[in-house]
Symmetry: C2
Subunit: 201 residues, 2 copies
């Protein structure tokens, strides 16, 4: 079967686009040593959109991603929220969350989901993390759905203790205790000391 060559080329094509999605059909044709027409047929059977569509898509979710982290303020999707009590967030991971070239989810993304949730669960105007203790129990892998559950514990004046547990399926991968500080009113005034000791266990 000479379709083996075709299958190989298809894989090569996908791999090429994986490393550089901004290649034109002509670029691909040169790289793979076939005609532009063949590339078009290949793209069509592989359901790979044209260069300009790929570019547009990248541009679109680039802006949505940046603003979603900046403005929505939470990493993951909040699916339950009882202010000052508990909150649940789900984060569907993909390769972008991976650590280096591995399938492992980098720890700082797990932290970020937890920390932003800990802040979101407190219903005060200005809230920041003062301190935290975090424990990574198991690895999470690309494709895992991280479910973080935040519970508000004791609170004294403007300091709240929020514990967050993150799991994948039934496996608990992460446990943390955040000391979250509410600085009602202007944020610029008492910027002197926000953390203090996090000894609350």
């Amino acid at each position: 079967m000479r379709s083996e060559l075709k299958l190989k080329r298809h894989k090569r094509l996908l791999r090429l686009l994986g490393t550089d999605p901004l290649m034109s059909d002509l670029d691909l044709a040169k790289e793979l040593g076939v005609s532009v027409g063949t590339i078009r047929l290949d793209r069509s059977v592989l359901n790979v959109p044209e260069l300009r569509a790929r570019t547009r898509q990248m541009a679109e979710n680039a802006s949505s991603r940046l603003t979603s982290m900046r403005h929505e303020e939470v990493l993951g999707e909040i699916i339950e929220l009882e202010p000052n009590s508990l909150a649940l967030s789900v984060l569907q991971t993909n390769r972008e969350y991976a650590f280096r070239h591995t399938d492992l989810i980098a720890d700082h993304h797990i932290y970020t989901q937890a920390a932003t949730l800990a802040i979101a669960v407190i219903e005060r105007d200005m809230v920041v993390v003062g301190a935290a203790r975090v424990n990574f129990k198991h690895y999470a892998s690309v494709g895992d759905r991280l479910i973080a559950r935040a519970k508000v514990g004791t609170h004294k004046d403007d300091k709240y203790v929020v514990s967050v547990r993150t799991r994948v399926g039934n496996s608990e991968i992460f446990v943390a205790r955040f000391v979250v500080v509410a600085a009602e009113g202007s944020a610029g005034e008492n910027t002197d000391q926000i953390g203090g000791s996090a000894n609350s266990g």
Copy 2:
């Protein structure tokens, strides 16, 4: 002078593209109530590139931004590195690191700079954060240069204690102690317990 109208339109055009850079000349023409030709002239005097070039540019620095987090594996720039001993990283902040609409730097970015540096300073193949204690001492603001210094402390088998201190100018804004675990060889084997207790002080 009726060129005042022109100047106003130019400002409106730039503002429109500021909120949505993916508008075509036709879109802009409709929005501003002029012909497509006028938009072309406007773009030309304002040195605004065409839609496809803008899209491409966004896609390009989107991928460079994502890969800079993914592949370079470190948030910030490492300016000094003595493996298994100490490391220094500098992170020039901007509005993208801000918390909500404020000028404050969100805590998880400070964490990320520290955690990725703690990992980078350990010269082993597979390294992950097992646990951490973090303390946010002062706020950091948009524009601040965060200088993180990681010091490797005791280590026992595959567990290293790395302490990281982050400062802005002379002010220490963040202190953390990471338990970093090296899992030399395959990462898929001992995924059972990576953290353990972080009680090391």
